[in-house]
Amino acid sequence: MENTNNNLLIASSPHIHSSNSLDLAMRDVLLALLPAVFAAILFFGLHSFLVITVCAISAVFAEFVAQKIMKRTVSISDGSAALTGVLLALCLPPSIPLWIAAIGAISAIIIGKQVFGGLGHNIFNPAHVGRAILLASWPVAMTTWTLPMAADAIASATPLALMKANNFAELPSLASMFLGNISGSIGETSALALLLGGAYLIWRGQIDWKIPASYLGTVAILTSIYGAINGLGVIYPFYHLFSGGLMIGAFFMATDWVTSPITKKGRLIFGICLGILTVLIRLKGGLNEGVCYSILIMNMATPLIDRYSKARIFGKKRKEPKHE
């Protein structure tokens, strides 16, 4: 037989790969955000779509420039920068000026991601870094909320602000809360749309149910207890679940691969701590909403959680490895 084998590929096993890739995963997350984007356009009009587009484009542009300057391989095609942009846009108020949104997206990519070494190395969720920077820099623009489905931007308090002020009479109906017909950030109002996206991601295997389940579960339990003590009724916890950035935070931000724990037990601990922090900030803190800061704080704890939540290795009795 002729020797046809001079060019055989030599590689380590395995020689088969699941079809999953970084690009595909990012596409899946973007796809999962589509219902929230549609809800945003429906409730807050075309300007919200402009904000999303501007953020996505600025993020991709920032990533490209940063990688060029830092002489890294340009990886804008993996979709992670665009995703950061869209996620950031979805947590901005509908009336945000486009230029502020663009600055947010650029800082998310540069300060939140590229200075740490790019995808996989960042400590904090980049989109939330961008949001935190904007909140500190333009506090008024970042907390000016408008009514949904309104011809003109009419300033209006968010359900969380109303709850904080103990103004339960003016709260929208629970159905409006669930569908998203309330004032709030562009993509955060519709719990329904975000639940659809989250379910899609879990079904696709791109995120683990453990973080959203433990996060939302903890918030539900704690607010139920608070509600029971203060006689606020059984629907009180639902108002917490459906308001603010909790849904998008639980399904899209806290589940960020890079900044959440890799151990199974760690993911549960992460979610529970997020729930506790969010409820603490919402009920006792100075701010109305605590999702963004809870996630940023817990991002810092991720390496620690990973370290102390190692799984028991098959065939080992003690919990290994020990740390010196």
Binding site: L8, I16, S21
Partner: protein
């Protein structure tokens, strides 16, 4: 409710439809066979024939040296023409006894039917298995008689026959289960005789309904042997995972199945044991699957040990287009070989050939780890593959050891799911090498 399964693992397209209904074809013996003197884990054999010697089929040509060693036998009758170094599937070069086939297939004198094999004692059965050079045919080629001689303080309670065959594209064990079922059962009965306290289990994955049907019928009359049907999942055929699936017992880290009272044997090995016990026939042929989109006629072949891969490709109708990758064994754990000038050994379960149009002939660029933890979720040993790989990359062997790299069974599930295409198994192997050699290993290509 027992699930007959293990934790972790992945679901892989089995691609078995090309060959799982094709009966085993006995391949004609080649003109020349190359009998490797080391086909097993353990000490290589000492050649006991000289150039020019006439040898018969089944005659011992290399004798074992030491306990963890097994003899090798000629798979044809003919003349010894030399001793030649040949590459083997695991990358090592091994001395092979070259035998020119006279196509007479004259059997060696000792190969005669055993009178009343039912009456053999455990010791006699073990002796026949040892002399016949039987080694684990699932791929690891651990000498069978060593497995069957556990330390006296270990009580063997179960012997599990591994009929899982969870590697995609391989169907050899499946066909053996279907076509040689009685031989397998008989082999298990002999095995049980060597371990008087043991019960027998035959584990088959639920993707082989025909084999399950045959064995449920066969085992109706057996008091001491039962069938375990495992739901399809990779790597169910891995020894530790299989023991857990069947018995929910965990082989301790660094330990052996005998530590939990179990011996696992491949179904092909069981069939070979029947031949050894009843016919005194040494292990000189085995069934393998030749498959892949680069092969004209994929099939299950019964081939003589020492047949070159190139001969088998020719038998299977040659290549379709020029081959891009040739894998000895399965896609998940097999070795990509650099040549077809490799002889079949007792552990060759398959030859897979893929050409350019196959996804298996391509490798994607490795990216930085995105910490998605998919590898952690699928690892059947509950390791953190991404962490071990990261340490291996940096040459931090102590850290890799702390993360228990040594427990890795190299099943490949982690690398299979990795969206960043990191060759995790390769990194972990490197770490294992360093850990076992206590830093005396080869220079690390990754650390400058």
């Amino acid at each position: 409710m027992k699930k007959n399964s293990f934790f972790g693992g992945v679901h892989i397209d089995a691609h078995k439809e090309f060959t799982n209904t094709l009966s085993i074809i006995t391949a004609p013996a080649p003109k020349t066979v190359y009998i490797p003197l080391s086909q097993h884990i353990g000490v290589p054999c000492q050649p006991i024939v000289k150039i020019g010697d006439e040898v018969k089929m089944g005659q011992m040509v290399g004798e074992s040296r030491g306990f963890v060693s097994i003899p090798v036998h000629s798979s044809v009758s003919g003349r010894v023409t030399g001793i030649q170094r040949k590459p083997t599937a695991n990358g090592r070069f091994v001395d092979c006894i070259v035998i020119q086939n006279d196509f007479e297939d004259t059997l060696y004198e000792s190969i005669i039917a055993t009178e009343e094999p039912d009456k053999l004692t455990a010791k006699e059965i073990l002796e026949k298995i040892t002399n016949s050079g039987v080694a684990g045919m699932g791929g690891a080629t651990f000498p069978t008689h060593v497995k069957l001689s556990p330390p006296p303080d270990k009580n063997i309670e179960y012997i599990i026959l591994n009929g899982i065959e969870c590697e995609p594209f391989l169907t050899a064990d499946h066909r053996i289960l279907v076509e040689r079922s009685e031989k397998i059962l008989q082999g298990l009965i002999y095995l049980l005789k060597t371990q008087p306290l043991a019960k027998g289990l035959i584990a088959i994955e639920d993707n082989k309904p025909d084999a399950i049907q045959i064995f449920s019928r066969l085992l109706e009359k057996q008091q001491n042997i039962s069938l375990v049907i495992c739901p399809e999942k990779y790597p169910q055929g891995s020894e530790k995972q299989l023991i857990y699936a069947c018995l929910e017992r965990e082989v301790p880290a660094g330990g052996l199945p005998s530590d939990v009272g179990v011996i696992v044997q491949n179904v092909g090995t069981a069939a070979a044991i029947t031949d050894a016990v009843e016919q005194n026939m040494p292990l000189i042929e085995r069934v393998l699957t030749i498959n892949g989109n680069g092969i004209a006629k994929p099939q299950n072949l019964s081939v003589r040990i020492g047949t070159l891969y190139s001969d088998l490709v020719e038998l299977a109708g040659g290549f379709i287009a020029s081959p891009s990758i040739v894998i000895s064994g399965g896609l998940m754990m097999g070795t990509a070989v650099f040549t077809l000038d490799i002889p079949v050994t007792k552990g060759t379960s398959g030859i897979l050939v893929f050409n350019d149009s196959s996804p298996f002939a391509k490798r994607e660029r490795e990216r930085d780890c995105a910490r998605c933890a998919k590898c952690v979720d699928v690892c059947p040993m509950s390791l953190e593959p991404s962490s071990i790989a990261a340490y291996a990359r940096k040459g931090r062997w102590e850290d890799a050891e702390r993360f228990e790299a040594i427990s890795c069974v190299e099943c490949g599930s982690c690398a299979f799911v990795c969206p960043c295409q990191i060759p995790l198994v390769q990194y972990i192997r490197l770490a294992k090498q360093y850990i076992t050699s206590k830093g005396q290993g080869p220079t690390n290509p990754l650390v400058k």
